[in-house]
């Protein structure tokens, strides 16, 4: 593969300077016309594979990150990450694995009502967003995760969530309500309407 080393330098400079991951299209737009951006990225990825800094793909975008094996020595530079409550963490996992998912479905999965603060914490962190409305009576809002979520948890795609394929295969990611907790969560009746709601979700209603 012949890659123009000048193009590699340019992409390198852009990726180093960027304050957030960049996608290939953004890079291509800044490089001279005709630059083979995929080859450039491949070259860079290879060049940095064994360095203290690696070129990593997150949420479909590219960024330089310190090598994972050096985490121990970067104690001082580390951001202090807020500890999430167990409720918030579970809610986040349910949204990530089941998205788009309604509040009622989250509550059903956890078997307990969602306190208002729980979702707020996740919104504050920039990890979840409203995705649209389920086309069921009441038109409940559905939630999904954000690009920041993928970036923060070092994922390139939602399918990279740990155990995603296995859970899906086991049917554990279905949002079909069991009907058990209809009375518990106080959403009586409404849950019934949401049965096979996933199928009826109208992608047109998504607010991208």
């Amino acid at each position: 593969m012949t890659v123009d080393p000048e193009h590699v330098r340019m992409a390198e400079a852009l990726l180093f300077a960027a304050s957030e991951p960049l996608d290939a299209a953004t890079l291509a737009a800044r490089l001279p016309d005709g630059a083979d951006i995929d080859a450039v990225l491949e070259t860079l990825e290879e060049q940095y594979r064994h360095k203290g800094v690696n070129l990593t793909r997150l949420a479909g975008k590219w960024t330089f990150l310190t090598a994972p094996d050096l985490a121990w020595m970067l104690e001082e530079e580390r951001e202090t990450t807020r500890r999430l409550s167990r409720a918030a963490l579970e809610t986040l996992a349910i949204i990530a694995y089941h998205q788009p998912v309604t509040r009622a479905e989250i509550e059903e999965t956890r078997g307990v009502g969602l306190s208002r603060g729980t979702m707020d914490v996740l919104f504050d962190a920039g990890w979840i967003r409203p995705r649209g409305r389920r086309r069921t009576p009441g038109r409940p809002v559905t939630y999904g995760i954000t690009e920041e979520f993928l970036i923060h948890f070092g994922l390139d795609d939602i399918k990279d969530l740990p155990g995603f394929d296995e859970l899906k295969a086991a049917g554990l990611l279905d949002t079909e309500p069991s009907g058990i907790f209809r009375d518990l969560s106080g959403n009586d009746g409404e849950d019934e309407d949401e049965e096979d709601g996933e199928d009826r979700f109208d992608p047109e209603e998504e607010e991208a």
């Binding site: 310190t66 985490a71 167990r86 963490l89 554990l172 009907g179 518990l184």
Partner: protein, 264 residues
């Protein structure tokens, strides 16, 4: 399913209470709802959730709730509803199936088992997420990104129709609410005074009392005071522009004006 790892992590979590054992030291505060209690009880059976005995579980839950009620009268409705549902489930499981509609006891038990597996799976997943590579903790971004300096050119979007509509709306709005207009009639504007002074100045070549330039038809005291103030301001403006001269022989004496000969 790796229940062990979660168990360990769960116990490390400060807000998780000790598991209820046969001695039943119970405290509901640490539980995240009835499903959580069931999950903890199920884990106590130390079997795969797929092989769990829902009947045993139901009995354990019922005795757990009974125990809690002995200690404290208040118990969240959620827990009691679950207890009622489990009591119903137990009866469906124990009594021979009857010819009525609705799911059988086994079906209900399966649903509950599925719910538990699902919650368990999400718990495990959330642990794995946290134990995975977290950017900002395990891999760091550049600490001092130079960033891209954006030179922004703004281009505003606005159609002629928008413009006309805005003007029309504003006119309409104003037309409907402007009660203060009535007051304005009484105010003699500086512009009007300037206009009058300019027109009349040439006709009176000698020193003249400024007050003689006031419009004659003003009757109420408010209008008169307004006219006096505006005319004085107008004369000062014109003096500044070199069109006229002003003089006052003593404090509170009349102010006199005269057109400047070399004025334009």
């Amino acid at each position: 399913m790796d229940t062990g790892s979660f168990d360990k992590a769960g116990r490390e979590n400060p807000d998780v209470i000790p598991l209820p054992t046969s001695s039943l030291v119970v405290d509901l505060d640490g539980y995240e709802g009835p499903l959580d209690v069931l999950l903890v009880l199920a884990r106590d059976q130390k079997v795969d959730l797929l092989k769990i005995s829902i009947l045993d579980l139901a009995e354990q839950y019922l005795s757990f709730v009974e125990e809690v009620q002995k200690l404290r009268l208040e118990i969240a409705a959620d827990y009691l509803v679950m207890a009622a549902w489990l009591a119903y489930l137990k009866s469906r499981l124990l009594l021979p199936a009857q010819e009525d509609d609705g799911p059988t006891g086994e079906e209900l038990a399966d649903r509950l088992a599925f719910q538990l597996r699902k919650l368990e799976a999400m718990r495990a997943a959330s642990e794995k997420l946290l134990n995975g590579t977290v950017v900002g903790r395990d891999q760091l971004q550049r600490g001092r990104p130079e960033g891209v300096r954006i030179i922004r050119h703004s281009k505003y979007e606005c159609s002629l129709r928008d413009l006309l509509q805005a003007y029309a709306d504003q006119k309409t709005r104003k037309g409907n609410t402007n009660p203060l207009r009535l007051m304005r009639e009484a105010v003699y504007s500086v512009e009007a005074a300037l206009d009058r002074l300019e027109k009349m100045l040439g006709q009176l070549p000698e020193w003249t009392d400024l007050m003689s330039y006031l419009p004659e038809n003003l009757t109420d005291p408010f209008s008169q005071r307004s006219a006096q103030a505006s005319t004085l301001l107008a004369s000062l403006q014109m003096a500044k522009e070199g069109q006229l001269e002003l003089r006052q022989s003593a404090t509170f004496a009349p102010i006199e004006v005269k057109k400047r000969k070399d004025g334009k």
